[in-house]
């Protein structure tokens, strides 16, 4: 059989195989062996006594060019902001509570409309100006009101912000026009980082330029190579970390470098070869080889973010039909998804929120895999199986597409898997996950059917899924909006949890607008002798980190 003989010959040449593939790929990762799961992992490698000095290279998936603070929704921005700027409050991932940072204490009035912050004394920005009550007011005003003249939009979490008032040298009072219990948490988000008045005076381009941003954090901008690396140096007189920091004073490290390594297959190799100390975004298939070569895997959980989900745009063709949405929600095998393209480090999601989040309700039984039911729903919706297995209605194919950011390493392969699952029930999926250009247009296009994402939600789920500025579902659901308002007005924790449960149920089961996927975690490769921990938004806490000689 000639066919078989050719194949045997090809196998014989396998030794010289790197040739063309190597040329096309333009790179080669260090060889590694192994398969299956690695050993246990934790989000912190802080142990032993800190070593002073040295430099730490943090390899990220990409570097942003826009650092305008209200827009710091992305990991690549929040990772930087966490280390160069301070916030009024910090979110404690252990307790889920908000703890003091620049605000040493605060009070809230009974109906969640007035927040009084006491500002810590003796805090200065790196240009020497004080971070006092007046500076806090200037920051809150830009966040809460935006600046139309500079095209700076409002912070989406500052709902109902009316204004701030400096009532004493160290006291700021914030007034809201409607109750918002989530306002306090919103001040702990990267998008509420505090900047020097000199920076706030700049126009949009100036505020977006990392080299011009002056803040009060433990590291200060030093230099950059656009799209490649950002270098920050330690501020010696830093002495005002959040109350949960393990280090009261200046950073142990002299210098930190954020370096972009967009090629996902290379990030573990970069740590193995010592080119980076820490890499964010280790793909599941590299986990085993990383642990085999002595690299520690630090899994940062993300209670500050929602779980990963696919959101249907309610008005888009095909998915505007709730039966289709329900069919897609239950039309793929999540266990197989996990075993194929994820790893044991990615818990399957049971709701919009991560399992570790306060108020999480487990709805997973309600959207369990059921291909027969999915097919029945699609039949009922009028989509009949065509000649090539893909369903059709009125001459139109049952085709949907998904856009998602390249900042998650698992979302593209995950949708490659889901594509093959949906194909079995007669649905064609165009997988654009990982293409940031397509994502940018899809976010602004309500007719684009599906967006895959997970988002910071310290300001509550309302800003993500309610009426104004909701680019996730483009749906304004009266019942949901009412629930969001109730949640913001709730004062008792038990009352809030009950409303939060209703919100999750409405989003996932009532409207079928969201397909829960997996809990958000970021897997980091950490080199030998590197001691680092992460906050609840998976940002590295470099003020507390150190590197052994």
């Amino acid at each position: 059989m000639s066919f078989h003989r050719v194949r045997t010959r090809l196998a014989a040449t396998a030794g010289a195989a790197a040739l063309l593939a190597g040329v096309l790929a333009g790179c080669a990762a260090p060889a590694a062996t192994g398969g299956g799961a690695g050993d246990g992992a934790g989000a912190s490698t802080l142990s032993g006594s800190p070593v002073e000095g040295g430099s730490l290279v943090f390899a990220d998936i990409e570097l942003q060019t826009d650092f305008q603070v209200q827009k710091a929704f992305n990991y690549t921005q929040s990772n930087v902001f966490r280390n160069i700027a301070d916030r009024l409050t910090a979110f404690d991932p252990e307790t889920g509570e908000v703890v003091p940072w620049i605000a040493s204490e605060w009070t809230v009035n009974e109906d969640n409309t007035e927040f009084t912050f006491t500002i810590r004394p003796d805090v200065t920005f790196s240009d020497g100006t004080p971070l006092d009550a007046a500076a806090v007011k200037a920051n809150l005003d830009q966040l809460g009101l935006g600046d139309d003249a500079k095209k700076i939009v409002k912070n989406r979490d500052f709902i109902g912000y009316v204004g701030s008032e400096v009532t004493a040298e160290d006291t700021v009072v914030v007034r809201l026009s409607e109750p918002n219990a989530d306002f306090l948490k919103a001040t702990a988000a990267a998008t509420a980082s505090l900047l020097a008045p000199a920076t706030l005076a700049l126009d949009y381009a100036g505020q977006a330029d990392i080299s011009k941003i002056v803040a009060s954090g433990p590291f200060v901008f030093e230099s950059q190579v656009p799209d490649q690396e950002l270098v920050f140096t330690k501020r010696d007189d830093y002495a005002w970390p959040s109350s949960i920091s393990t280090n009261d004073g200046a950073a142990h490290l002299d210098e930190v470098v954020f370096r972009a390594i967009p090629e996902v297959g290379l990030r573990v190799g970069a740590v193995a070869s010592g080119q980076a100390d820490v890499s964010r975004g280790v793909q599941p298939s590299d986990e085993a080889s990383a642990t085999a070569s002595g690299i520690e895997l630090a899994v940062a959980e993300a209670p500050e973010l929602t779980a990963n989900w696919a959101a249907f745009r309610g008005g888009a063709p095909v998915v505007s039909d709730q039966n289709v949405r329900r069919a897609l929600q239950i039309g793929f095998d999540r266990e197989a998804l996990k075993s194929t393209v994820l790893s044991e480090r990615y818990p399957l999601s049971g709701s919009v929120l991560n399992r570790s989040a306060p108020g999480f309700v487990d709805l997973s039984d309600e959207f369990a895999y059921d291909a027969d039911e999915a097919e029945r729903l699609l039949d009922e919706a009028g989509w009949k199986v065509g000649s090539d297995g893909i369903r059709e209605k009125d001459g139109q194919r049952l085709r949907v597409s998904i856009a998602a950011s390249p900042r998650s390493v698992v979302i593209k392969p995950a949708f490659e898997f889901i594509e093959s699952e949906w194909r079995k029930i007669g649905v064609e999926l165009t997988n654009n996950a990982g293409d940031s250009a397509i994502l940018a247009t899809a976010l602004g296009d309500p007719a684009y059917p599906i967006i895959g994402s997970r988002q910071f939600y310290l300001g509550g789920l309302g800003p993500l899924f309610s009426a104004a500025g909701n680019t996730n579902t483009y749906v304004s659901d009266d019942e949901l909006n009412a629930l969001f308002a109730t949640e913001r007005a709730a004062t008792e924790p038990s009352e809030r949890e009950a409303v939060l449960a209703d919100i999750q149920e409405r989003l996932v089961l009532g409207t079928n607008l969201l397909v829960p996927l997996w809990d958000e975690v970021q897997v980091h490769a950490v080199g030998k002798g590197v001691h680092i921990s992460f906050d609840g938004g998976t940002a590295p806490l470099l003020q507390e980190a150190w590197v052994e000689d």
């Binding site: 194949r7 393209v341 898997f417």
Partner: protein, 273 residues
């Protein structure tokens, strides 16, 4: 004129192997289902990242799909796109070459300067340009790569026509009163055809490489439809733990391009002999 079949130079072992590989390719193109029982689109989640074995000669990928099955089914996409490219290059290139060599000095000067300008642009860049302007997809990809090969066909056609036109039998037909088109299609083109066919085969190999390279960069058929360049690109992220996902399809593309080059050279020799 090409000689009779009896005078063919004997093919060497390299030529024979190349011909065999091309025959296999044709078979994959026509009846891919006969050569693999695996589904190129839907994988088996229990068989993720399996190294090459008898059951999976090219191993399996991150979704548990058989890589060889994807290469076999990808033949259609890659070969048709490359075929379109050769067709575009052959048709336009030959037309320009004929015009320049038979329509007088002005036509020659103008068309050859256009060709010189095209030479200055790397073919790969021209293809990229077309694909970015008209959107990713097999048709724009084929046309884009084809435009890049117009140059080759035009220059070879022109040279061949100039050679053939000076031959006695063509001169004779001209003296006998044959018209322009009679000369062109009755005598000149058949005389030049051998070289063009040989060039088309070599160019097909180059087109396969260009199509795969652009497919690798994401300008070809959108996934999950198998296409050689895309298959290699999909393996790129898994180089560290699954070398076979890039290396084996990559080596295969390399062999195909070499085989087409060898066959093209043989055909060139045959038709020139």
């Amino acid at each position: 004129m090409p000689r009779g079949i009896g005078a063919l130079p004997l093919p060497g072992p390299a030529t024979a192997l190349s011909a065999l590989l091309v025959l296999v390719l044709v078979a994959w193109l026509v009846v891919p289902g006969l050569f693999t029982s695996y589904d190129p689109l839907v994988g088996d989640s229990a068989e993720v990242f399996l190294a090459p074995s008898v059951a999976h000669p090219f191993g399996t990928d991150h979704l548990g799909r058989d890589v060889l099955a994807r290469v076999i089914h990808g033949t259609t996409q890659t070969a048709l796109t490359a075929g379109l490219a050769v067709l575009v290059g052959l048709a336009l290139g030959t037309a320009i070459g004929l015009a320049s060599s038979t329509l007088g000095p002005w036509a020659d000067a103008i068309s050859m300067r256009v060709i010189d300008a095209l030479i200055a642009l790397p073919a790969f860049m021209v293809a990229l340009f077309v694909v970015s302007a008209y959107g990713a997809g097999p048709v724009s990809l084929g046309v884009g790569v084809g435009i890049g090969s117009i140059v080759l066909f035009a220059r070879v056609t022109r040279a061949e026509v100039l050679r053939v036109r000076a031959l006695d039998y063509v001169e004779a037909s001209k003296l006998a009163g044959a018209g322009y088109f009679r000369q062109l299609f009755g005598h000149i083109l058949p005389g030049a055809a051998g070289a063009l066919i040989a060039l088309a085969v070599v160019d097909f190999g180059a087109a396969v490489l260009a199509v795969s390279a652009l497919g690798y960069l994401g300008f070809g058929t959108p996934p999950p439809t198998p296409e050689w360049g895309l298959i290699i690109a999909e393996g790129r992220n898994y180089l560290a733990n699954a070398w076979w996902m890039t290396s084996l399809p990559g080596t295969f593309v390399l062999l195909v391009v070499v085989a087409l080059g060898v066959l093209g050279r043989y055909l060139g020799k045959v038709t020139r002999a």
